[in-house]
Assembly symmetry: C2
Homo-oligomer: 195 residues x 2
Amino acid sequence: MARTRGSRADITGPLIREHARRLIARHGYAAVSMRKLADAVGVQVGTLYGHIPDKQALLMDLMRSHMETLLDDWRDDPQATPVRRLERFVRFHIAYSLDHSDGVFLSYMELRNLEPDNFHAIGLLRRRYEDSLERILKDGVAAGTMTIADSRLTTMALIAMLTGVTNWYRAGGRLDRDRLSDVYWGLVQGSVGVT
Amino acid sequence: MARTRGSRADITGPLIREHARRLIARHGYAAVSMRKLADAVGVQVGTLYGHIPDKQALLMDLMRSHMETLLDDWRDDPQATPVRRLERFVRFHIAYSLDHSDGVFLSYMELRNLEPDNFHAIGLLRRRYEDSLERILKDGVAAGTMTIADSRLTTMALIAMLTGVTNWYRAGGRLDRDRLSDVYWGLVQGSVGVT
DNA sequence: GTCTATATTTAGATAGAC
DNA sequence: GTCTATCTAAATATAGAC
């Protein structure tokens, strides 16, 4: 039991990431000092550097893990019809965005604070996710069940529309989540001309 | 001609705002120091404070003037049909977003850096703009030329979709602006069930 | 109106004790 | 693994000269 003062090695690392995600999502990367982060976690500043090399690495860790979880959670079903696959994508994206709103917000807002190499790496992961949607749209056109003027533009437009839900939806509000997804799915169906 | 050293009172104020808009849109409010701003403008730090009270007032000035210009430039035409009014809104919003991309981006990203009173004031202006779109959608439903499950949600979804164009559109790219607006207008028509 | 100089606070990061 | 103490740089803002 030769423990030092407040040692809890197993949980401090995750705690730092949790608080950093929340604080940066709320106030922005540059506005969250290492001291404020340490205060939120309940440790001293120096302690942070036992878990992360520097502030930029912390941001990159948050963004990379967010994108990897997103890509890992989304599983397209190539057996289903394109329309059904699109519906699954819409409902998945909304649910994921609401369940991980801080991560979604942060990953979108803090791209500009990544150093060039990190920016490029995250860009590749984002592109993979976008492409998985574009694949569905192209398959829908090929199958004759969707009408789309420009699949790339439509991909970007739909993702912007769906992700925007994090900006105004508040739990306990006028709409419940199922109803929310239903309405969005209706908008998407119309916009891609589902027959 | 008793001018002091580099005095050019008439243009320094506007120059400060122009550079601040560009720098904050690119790097974020907290990341742009008054020194960096002064460097970009070509004056010393102290000079800035002859034109603005403090950094927060500068941000608020940028956001307020942006919203007021937006509201002033958008003129609905109550004589036209709802569908025609919606088309005008879509094309206006895209053109405005591309012509003022720094201002649009900044006004969206830096809301969280406004002090409470300022946040509230900007929120009211944003709400007025949103309401002008929702009015069109409601009129379209009443006229029987649009099918909309939830006008408020659809308003937020459409604005998010249209504003998203600033995130990926680059002048000189694959699409010209007219073609871009055409495609977006097609998406919007479908999503609100224009008959 | 602008510059130089400075007051004061806060930032990211590290060293060494426990 | 964590804390205390500290280094160095950079932040916002102001005072007074020209």
